[in-house]
Amino acid sequence: MDELEQRLRTALADDALQVLPRPDALSTIRAGVRRRRRRTRVVTAASAMAAAAIAVAAAVTVPAMLDHGARGGKPPVTPLSGSWRVAETVPLPSTAQNVTALSATATVVWVGAPGHLLRIDTTSGAVTTYDEPGTPLALAATPRVLWVAARGGSGCLLEERNAISGQRLMLHQVACRAGAALAVTANGPDAWLVVGGPSHVSLGLYAAGRSRPVRTTTVTGSSTGVHPLAIAGAHVFVLTRTPATLRVTRLAQDLRGTPVSADAPAGVIGMAYGTHRLILATGAGESWVDPQTMQVRHLADDATRDLTTGNSLLWSVVGREPTTLVVRDPVTARRIGAVVVAGTVSHVLAIDTDLWAVASGDDNRTAVLRLTPVGGK
């Protein structure tokens, strides 16, 4: 064996290649397998229906209209491609009509409203209401923990709640200015909180069960957009605005190391991560960012005001009254389908191939809708 081969063996030794598996790796892989199986069914169903799409768009309008008056004010929904249907409608109580935040896992949907937090069990349909000390501005749900970023009378709060019982486990007081934007996202036992400021945003890493933040840092610029925070692979991304430009900044999930920034497209209002890319929505279209190289590229031309990603699907929210939910492949930008909601959709969240949406109908009653692929559960 010559010197080169010896160096190769040494360089490729186990110690140099160590990558610690995440504690939740197996459950993440299982979830990925389930998503791919569902996705296969969706694509199959969409392909089968593609030939009839035009006819469906014309014919489905009347049958798809829901019984608006008799069933608690559900907004009428028209699936243009015929690929998604309303599988569930949960009218919200009168105390929680003004929804401020939405999050969900596979089995629970969480809705925030001033002074209230609602837990909707998607299996039984049971709705439980909890009192909140402030207004929840952002929620991040995991199967075990719900993180609530709220603004109260005396400042900002980050709450850690048990996702099963709703019981508050920890309450972090967070310094913030009046009117500060808050955003939270979570992964496993960790949560990242963004608190907006006039010249910089504060980013904190919190761990379930710990009374103090694990680490905090700041990013230059003020907070901007409806979704200024996203997790992508091993990184966390923050969207900020400086007087000169909009920036997307990448940090390691442990908030160590040097942040890397790139210019974001003009008018960017939010981010979502899916299929190994960070999707940016602007009022004039979508772009995507390679999380490794930070290069920004054009994706599609929807006039998006909100977005969400799930299981290789990109949902773009376009327009109001009616609201069109455009479904695309986030890699090819191919339009897979579209659903028209005859009302205003204020919040969306994709879970696998389903979409949870908060929508208000023409009687101003608000409901949570679950859209499921036709042929799905």
Binding site: V33, A252, D254
Partner: protein, 165 residues
């Protein structure tokens, strides 16, 4: 939980650390390695019954990792992307390593790199590498030869540069 799910879970639990190391060797980056392994195992899980029936599911996963890496590399090359943005490694790498050799490995096309990894890290024979990568043994031999030649030439260049500088 059905038997198929149980055997898939057991496979993942047993082989995940080794697959992560393999992916790290193939792509040179622990974060991309985690993504590649996740992707490959999800694909494997969807077809687990059939893949398990082949008797060597790990070969399937390794091939999926190499193919995933090749596909990313092709895409990045088509888009004229160059080096990754320098960054810390988020505490995932603790051991010092031969940075020069890693930099040189990173310059190899993914197929050549995969052949060298399977040969010098996994100690596989040409036949085993060919089965894992789904190619002919002759291709393995030529890819290994080209990869080693490139590394030798690059090392020689670097030495010459250090003597003359």
């Amino acid at each position: 939980m059905d038997a198929g799910q149980e055997s898939f879970d057991a496979f993942v639990r047993a082989r995940l650390p080794a697959l992560l190391r393999f992916a790290h060797a193939v792509c040179g980056d622990p974060h991309t390695a985690a993504d590649l392994v996740q992707d490959a195992l999800e694909r494997t899980g969807v077809r687990w019954e059939r893949i398990q029936g082949t008797g060597d599911p790990e070969a399937y996963v390794r091939r999926a990792i190499v193919n995933g890496r090749t596909s990313r590399w092709r895409k990045l090359r088509r888009e004229s992307l160059v080096d990754d943005v320098p960054e810390g490694r988020a505490g995932m790498m603790q051991q010092p390593r031969d940075e020069e050799m890693w930099r040189l490995l990173a310059t190899l096309p993914p197929r050549q790199r995969a052949v060298l990894v399977l040969r010098y890290y996994e100690d596989m024979s040409e036949e085993q590498i060919a089965r894992t990568l789904g190619c002919a043994p002759g291709t393995v031999k030529s890819q290994a030869s080209k990869g080693l030649a490139k590394l030798r030439a690059a090392l020689a260049d670097q030495r010459e540069a250090s003597w003359t500088s």
